[in-house]
C-alpha cells in the first residue's frame, strides 16, 4: 500500500500534475503540497503527492538503494 519511491513532477497545471515513475507518466493531485513546482521530487500515495523531497533526501534514498543493490550482487 505504501509506495515509497520519489517521483518527479514533469508537468503542472493548477493542482493537477503529471509525474514520471521510472518512465511511466501518471496524473497526480498536488493540492496537499505547498508551492509544488515542475522538477520537484515527491512521494505519491493513491494518486496524491503527499510530501516533497529535497535534493538531499533524494540523494539519501539513492545511497540506500545503491548499498542494497551492492549487497544483492554480493549475495548472488
Amino acid at each position: 500500500m505504501c509506495l515509497a519511491i520519489p517521483v518527479q513532477i514533469v508537468e503542472l497545471e493548477g493542482t493537477q500534475a503529471v509525474v514520471d515513475m521510472h518512465g511511466v507518466r501518471r496524473p497526480v493531485q498536488v493540492n496537499l503540497l505547498q508551492n509544488p513546482e515542475v522538477g520537484d521530487y515527491v512521494l505519491v500515495h493513491a494518486g496524491f503527492a503527499i510530501q516533497k523531497w529535497s535534493e538531499a533526501d533524494v540523494a539519501e534514498y539513492h545511497a540506500i538503494m545503491e548499498e542494497m543493490n551492492a549487497m544483492d550482487e554480493k549475495a548472488e
Binding site: M1, C2, A4, Q29, A46, F48, I50, D57, A63
Partner: protein, 359 residues
C-alpha cells in the same frame, strides 16, 4: 551502512538480558522486512511482531457484508481499491459478488471514483473509504470535490481508522508485552511525529518512525533496541527524508474539515474509542449510510471457525499457531483477512517465513 547498523544492533542488544518484542505496526513494513530476510539478522533476544497496520486486515467482517448487500441495490456502482475485493465476509467477497454481476470499479486513486460519478450520472457511486491517516486525506478530497461539483450520485462508505489509538489499545490490553514500536512511515508523513508522543510518555514505550527500505527498518530496530538499553522511551524519526515533525498540514486541515473522530470496530481488536473517522454532519449528503439506511443496521460478524486473525493482528500468536494456516487457508483460498491482503501477516509468513531461520 549495513555493517555499521548490524554492529550497533549487536552492541545494544547485548546490554539487555531479556527478550525484546518489537512490533512493526505497518503492513508494508511487515512485507519489506520479510522480503529482505531481516529477521535472520536479528540478535537472539530481539523479536519482531507484526501489528494491526494492514487496512484491509483490520476491516471488520460486517463492513464487508454491508458492502455485499449494497451491491444488490439497483444502479449502485462500488468503487474500491483492489485489495478489498477478496476479503471474506459472511456473505462472500466482493470478488464473488462481481462474478455474479455486481458493478464494481477498481480504482488506483479515489480521484477515479469521482470521475466515475461524473461519467455515470445514472449510477450511485459509493467509494469504500478504508485506510489510515495516509489514505483518509485523499478520500476527504473526493468529498470536498463532490460537494463543490454538487455531485448528488457520489458517496463514501467510511471505515477510516487512525493508528495511535490501536497501538495504545494493544498496550492497555497487556495481552502481549511490546517493548517498542516501529511506527508507520506514511501515516507519519501526514500526521507528523507528535502523534506518538503519548505512547512514549504515558506508556513508556519507545517509538521510532521508519522508512520502507530494509536498511531503514533495520536502523529503526537498532534505534529501538538502543532506547531499551538506555532506559529511554522517546519518539525518534529514522525516516527524516519524508517525515517532518509537524507532518503535512494541508492534509491535516483537509482531514479536519471533512472528518471527525469516532469509535471504530477493528477486526481482532474490537471497538476502540476514538480510533475511527466519520464524515461530519456538514457533508452528510456524501455519507453512504445516509443514502442507504440499511448500512446503519448492526450485523453479526462471527469470524470463520478456527481462524486466528484476531490474535495475529494483536501480536498474540503467529500464523504457524493457527490451525488453518497453510492448510485450509492459503493465498489462493484465503479464509482470514490476514491471508488476503498482500500486506497481511499470514500472507507474508506464507510467502517468506518457511524459508527463513527465524520468525
Amino acid at each position: 551502512m549495513f555493517k555499521e547498523i548490524k554492529e550497533n544492533l549487536r552492541h545494544w542488544a547485548k546490554q539487555i538480558d531479556r527478550p525484546l518484542k518489537l512490533m512493526e505496526v505497518c503492513g508494508t513494513h511487515t512485507m519489506a522486512a520479510f522480503r529482505a530476510g531481516l529477521r535472520s539478522f536479528l540478535p537472539e533476544n530481539v523479536n519482531l511482531l507484526s501489528g494491526p497496520g494492514c487496512p484491509v486486515c483490520v476491516t471488520a467482517g460486517d463492513y464487508i457484508d454491508h458492502v455485499i448487500r449494497l451491491t444488490a441495490e439497483p444502479n449502485v456502482m462500488i468503487a474500491t481499491f483492489g485489495d478489498m475485493l477478496r476479503v471474506p465476509g459472511n456473505l462472500g467477497s466482493l470478488e464473488i459478488a462481481r462474478a455474479q454481476g455486481a458493478d464494481i470499479l477498481v480504482v488506483y486513486s479515489p480521484v477515479d471514483a469521482v470521475l466515475a460519478a461524473e461519467k455515470y450520472s445514472d449510477k450511485q457511486v459509493v467509494f469504500l473509504g478504508v485506510g489510515f491517516e495516509t489514505t483518509a486525506p485523499t478520500v476527504a478530497w473526493t468529498i470536498q470535490a463532490a460537494a463543490e461539483k454538487k455531485l448528488a450520485n457520489y458517496s463514501v462508505f467510511c471505515a477510516h481508522k487512525t493508528m495511535p489509538q490501536a497501538m495504545a489499545a494493544l498496550l492497555q490490553s497487556k495481552e502481549v508485552r511490546i517493548d517498542g514500536f516501529v511506527c508507520p512511515g506514511h501515516v507519519s508523513v501526514i500526521t507528523g511525529t507528535k502523534l506518538y508522543t503519548f505512547i512514549a510518555e504515558e506508556y513508556k514505550t519507545p517509538c521510532v518512525v521508519a522508512g520502507f527500505e530494509p536498511l531503514d527498518i533495520f536502523q529503526a530496530i537498532t534505534m529501538l533496541v538502543q532506547q531499551c538499553a538506555e532506559g529511554r522511551s522517546e519518539v525518534e524519526n529514522q525516516y527524516q527524508r519524508s517525515v517532518k515533525e509537524k507532518g503535512n498540514q494541508a492534509a491535516q486541515a483537509l482531514l479536519a474539515e471533512i472528518f471527525e473522530p469516532c469509535d471504530a470496530k477493528w477486526r481482532g481488536l474490537g471497538v476502540i474509542s476514538g480510533s475511527g473517522l466519520q464524515i461530519r454532519a456538514k457533508y452528510a449528503d456524501y455519507a453512504a449510510e445516509n443514502k442507504f439506511a440499511f448500512l446503519q443496521e448492526k450485523l453479526a460478524a462471527p469470524e470463520p471457525i478456527g481462524c486466528r486473525c484476531g490474535e495475529i493482528l494483536r501480536g498474540v500468536c503467529i500464523p504457524f499457531e493457527c490451525p488453518l494456516f497453510q492448510k485450509a487457508c492459503t493465498p489462493a483460498n484465503p479464509i482470514g483477512a490476514c491471508m488476503v491482503s498482500n500486506e497481511g501477516t499470514c500472507a507474508a509468513y506464507y510467502k517468506y517465513a518457511q524459508k527463513q531461520r527465524k520468525v
